[in-house]
Symmetry: C2
Subunit: 429 residues, 2 copies
Amino acid sequence: MDKTKIGLIGLGTVGSGVAQLLLDHGDRTARHAGRVLWLEKVAVRDLNRPRDCELPAGVLTDQLDEVINHPEIEVVAELMGGVDLAREVVLRSLAAGKDVVTANKALLAAHGPELCDAARKHCRTIAFEASVAGGVPIITNLSQCLSANQVTSLTGILNGTCNFILAKMHSEGTPYGQALEEAQRLGYAEADPALDVNGADTAQKLAILAHLAFGARVAWEEIPCVGIDTLDVADIQHAQQMGYVIKLLGVAELTPDGVQLSVGPTLVRRGGAMADVSGPMNAVHVRADAVGELFYQGPGAGQMPTASAVVADLIDTAAGRTRVTFQTLELWSDRSSRVEMADPKMAVGGYYLRFMVDDTPGVLAKITGVLGEHAISISSVLQHEASDGSAPLVIMTHDTTEGEAVEACCDIAALDCVRSTPVGMRVRG
Amino acid sequence: MDKTKIGLIGLGTVGSGVAQLLLDHGDRTARHAGRVLWLEKVAVRDLNRPRDCELPAGVLTDQLDEVINHPEIEVVAELMGGVDLAREVVLRSLAAGKDVVTANKALLAAHGPELCDAARKHCRTIAFEASVAGGVPIITNLSQCLSANQVTSLTGILNGTCNFILAKMHSEGTPYGQALEEAQRLGYAEADPALDVNGADTAQKLAILAHLAFGARVAWEEIPCVGIDTLDVADIQHAQQMGYVIKLLGVAELTPDGVQLSVGPTLVRRGGAMADVSGPMNAVHVRADAVGELFYQGPGAGQMPTASAVVADLIDTAAGRTRVTFQTLELWSDRSSRVEMADPKMAVGGYYLRFMVDDTPGVLAKITGVLGEHAISISSVLQHEASDGSAPLVIMTHDTTEGEAVEACCDIAALDCVRSTPVGMRVRG
């Protein structure tokens, strides 16, 4: 049986998992690839660091070039993480005639166009199933399985750390800071979890999915993005009382004005599949014109789920499927910008609004009056008893635009009877 | 741009949907295939039957040969249904050098080995995404996305008609016959729904999935199979009281003794994703050694969801991905029988047992005594008040084997205090 020689760059959590699958399950990968996937070289920064997988003698190296310029390695898996050096590694690998597999969403979100152009220039391919939603094969599903469809919306829980923290806040009323600490203790959250909890990680993944699903060329930094790091557990409790749970959603919707994109804590009705996504799981809901609705759920991170996606890419690349897909999809090529990003102010939806208000007569009238001025109609109201002379007033609205909701909140914040900055979140059926 | 000429055989519900996608969305299919998918000919039995899609002049024919022996048609989509003539059409198409796409699970379940051998002999391919779970791309996910994994179990709601009927029985206490009538009125159930409701349809689909996931060569008729047509709404109510819903599940599990396969109404704990699969939806839960657990949900039937899967296959076939996959998977080849079917008697699990018993002292002791003799331990008991001197006694067991459960039920049925045939169903966490 023919061999395809593989080089890995990086032997951290994911790299070790990939090495393990290649070394322990050669029969399996060979059966699916129609050829042996041979782990030829693994480049690491520090040869002496303890590793949780054993490599055959001669495989480990601290010289990048021994992978990138290895004459027989055909596929390089970039599993080092980070952006700048990873970009260089991918570009040099492509230039050296290697196909590339990467799990690096930050790299793709930042340099997708440059890397894909380089791949095309050198007649090579880039595969990146593991970059979004870990073990959930959403990349292949969007770029291949749903190819008879125009996707019309895409809603995802794309960050397992945030979903774990939110689940903790919901089930035990744990405040954000404490839930984050627990996520770190359990290994779900990074030592520096900033990019997870501020929504940036979700926005990067959403930018990739939106490109696949809509051909949208979006800089992830332009996606309106709110994290969970400012979320008050009180809002979780109010949402629960009204039959909702709060999830950090990345949403992309095709509208007549372009693709509406947003990332933020969102109220999701209890009882639906998205509301039930538990712990560190990821999920993606896709609506498309032929198939209707599809829902995918699975592990969004972790060593072996991510390695599963990387090795599937290695198999597809070795077997020749990636070549077909990469060629036809024309990822991030000039030709593929089929739709623009819509004005976020025009995003339509229901809102959850919470105001801390004085416990004085006429407050509800004033606030609902302002909402009325902005043509925002109210779906339900929840007002608890006051303590210290103020009380939370929760208002759920019918569909309005983001622009009107924000303006109304500004006007309401300026009222004398309102004590702190209003809280606003999108609501999804 | 190059063209791939397509021929359809059959222009019923699915065929019309496929024609519509090819005719109305040529830009979309061409973008994904890297070439134009050109609908050249459609063969039907009766030219005069009214159709719900308009074809260009010259496309429709009542001569099979105009498709099968068309010199320029490269891919034939068999969408006529049935088994015998469909088998002939596929064999003749392959012999004439055409790649084949089919949505016909009955055909594959009956003749998969013969058809795939013929395809290999003629160096052609067969793609069949639409044959299982309609719009849910489970075939591609198993044969491609999860290729780094050994699947260890596979649980599916694979028949939308049954799921609709069960949902109706659950939500409204509608008896089976009445729920079936409603499914027929709404177009979910066929005029002759026998193969749906007796579980045969699910068993055929499960046989295909088990072959993909485990390499098991199983005749679908050998899969132990119970339908929903004998299900008593009383058992649905008892299950609900104990926190479960009843779903018609197809289950395949890898055990040390081979693949355990079964189809039957099964108690599924409320609150999980599988329990929430509503109406005519399909769902598949996959457990695999690298990725862990994945859950897919979507429309299991219907014109456009099924057409979405067929056209994805046409695109994959025209683009060249199907060739790679079909070659490496060696479907139903002699080489691929990697695992045998396990003895159904050895299937391990919890059971729901219901006995109609006399309302006399000592009955519970007798019945639990028999269970004890079979080393079956009890997890919970539910006994309602008697009417007419008899009462339903519901017992949920801890894990036991199918063999022990069946023997125990036989022994219990022979007791004087037991009035009718015991009811037994598997329970899944």
